[in-house]
């Protein structure tokens, strides 16, 4: 009896150790799957033959369904955020006699840093993580096998449209909210007059020098890729966990936040170092 107990303890300890030893490997394998999946999606996106009728239809549907419903809400949210932050920055700058730097700070804080990040996270929470979870569910229920049996590649017909729609939604939301933020910041600082257009344009041009513009574009593209690819890859592969919908969503969320954080840090380092 005691022997059996000791053996079972030893066996469970060995299993635990073996699991702990495999964790870094599983972690690395997971990232490898994500990178491979990202590369696959990019290659498929640039291959004209991917856009057959089923894929095209799914893409159209996802582009509209993933973007259009959240566009007004997100724009409203950004407008509120812009008004609050602009007011705080302008009033603080005036009180310290540094009003000439207020506009530049508003543009830098809002347009360069906050809005792309907010857009990416909004799209992730609203579209791509649920899409990734749906893919995990479909895979678990065997829909992918059904599709394969019909001669369709599930990655092309199901995954690619969702990933591209996620990228598109991030870019659209970021672009629209940046424009809205710029307009509202102008109105908050100068009021309803066209007299400030010249100085405002000058400050905008001053902030968006070539290096900052390049970093901004690359950052936004990377954000869109991260929020689209990572949740989809989590749904498509059993990176960790039991392959359930919730597990895929959670994995996608954690990994995606880590990547967004790294991208933001790299962008800040590029802009201000």
């Amino acid at each position: 009896m005691a022997y059996h107990l000791a053996m079972s303890i030893l066996s469970s300890s060995a299993q635990r150790l073996s699991r702990a030893g495999r964790a870094p490997i599983r972690w690395l394998t997971g990232w490898g799957h994500i990178i491979f999946f990202g590369a696959t999606v990019l290659v498929l996106a640039m291959t004209p033959s991917s856009y057959a009728r089923p894929t095209r239809e799914a893409l159209m549907r996802h582009i509209y369904v993933d973007t259009a419903p959240i566009l007004p809400w997100f724009t409203t949210l950004c407008a509120l955020l812009t008004l609050v932050i602009t007011r705080i920055v302008v009033v603080t700058a005036y009180s310290y006699g540094l009003s000439q730097y207020a506009l530049e700070m508003v543009i830098r804080v809002l347009v360069l840093e906050l809005i792309p990040l907010t857009a990416a996270m909004f799209v992730a929470l609203r579209c791509t993580i649920p899409n990734g979870a749906a893919l995990a569910e479909m895979r678990r229920l065997g829909h992918f096998d059904t599709l394969r049996s019909r001669g369709q590649d599930p990655v092309v017909t199901q995954v690619l449209p969702r990933a591209l729609a996620g990228i598109f939604a991030t870019l659209t939301l970021a672009a629209l909210s940046c424009v809205v933020a710029l307009v509202l910041a102008y109105l908050a600082v100068y009021g309803a007059t066209a007299a400030g257009l010249g100085p405002y344009t000058h400050v905008f041009g001053h902030v968006f020098n070539p290096a900052v513009s390049l970093i901004f574009v690359i950052k936004t593209l990377c954000f869109s890729l991260a929020v689209s690819v990572i949740p989809m890859a989590s749904g498509l592969y059993d990176l960790e966990g039991d392959g359930s919908r919730e597990s895929a969503a959670l994995q996608g969320l954690v990994r995606m936040f880590a990547v967004l954080l790294l991208l933001e840090a790299a962008s800040l380092a590029g802009n201000y170092s």
């Binding site: 582009i63 509209y64 419903p69 979870a133 969702r162 344009t201 000058h202 041009g205 020098n209």
Partner: protein, 328 residues
Amino acid sequence: MQEQAPDTPVQNSEPAPLRPVRHLELKAALLLLFTGLLIAAAVLYLLYARGVFEATQKLVLTTDDSEGVVVGMDMTFSGFPIGRVRRVELGEAGNVRILIDVTSKDAHWLRTSSVFTLVRGLVGGTAIRAYSGVLTDPSLPDGAERGALRGDATAELPRVLSSAKEVLENLSAMTAQDAALRNSLEQLKLVTARLAGPRGGLAAIFGNDADAQKLVAALDRTNALLARVDTLAAKADTQVFGPEGVMKEARATVVQLNGLLAETRQSLKKLDAVLVEAQGIGADVRGATGDLGALRSDVEANLRKIEGLINELNRKWPFARDTEVKLP
């Protein structure tokens, strides 16, 4: 297994409309177009803001230090940005060349006599400013090279800090344990303590109570003396101005003196008359003195004649050796 179309929402886990979207392709295309236009407009605005569509002319500023000068910073004229730094490079002579793109529409503010400054303030970055004193001078040509004057507010900081350090050292020396100011304050404290003491200011002035006591005693004696003087004065008043006082006698004496003076005046008038007479006598004497002169000249003439006569006699009297003439 439940058969489900692959392209339909799976168990409500992904975003999907409640009912099928009409004209889905058209709406998706419009959304794509909207995003494309938005991004294109943003890019065009950025290019416009960066001055890509503006004609510019080149200006080269030379200076000895590029600290604070960065690509993209503005050159201002009267506070308005009219140019932007495009490049900063080292010249062949080791100086700094700042290449600036000046917008053509604002280039007319720059003249051949314009002055360019590179000012570094305490707050904020370095600023390049242009000043044109004479706007009637010829315009600055494209590619012109000008020197920039440097002004650094922070350069004054070491001097200010050094002065502040000196002030603090002086202050520290003044407030040291054995400093003159501290000693003076202690003395002042002693003086004020004495002022508040029983002898007050006297003790503070003399430094001890004994001397102050002497002064008080002297004052008492002076008071006694003054009382005596007062009594004396009263007595003197009685003696002088009293009914039998000196003053009355003095007044009588003055009356007598007046009479005496009148008599004296009369005597003097008589003396005047005597003097007038003496003056007449003097005039007579002066006339007599004139007559005496004439008499003297007569006597002298007679004497010369007698001398001539004797000389004649001596010539005529050959044996006579004695030529002396004896006058009677």
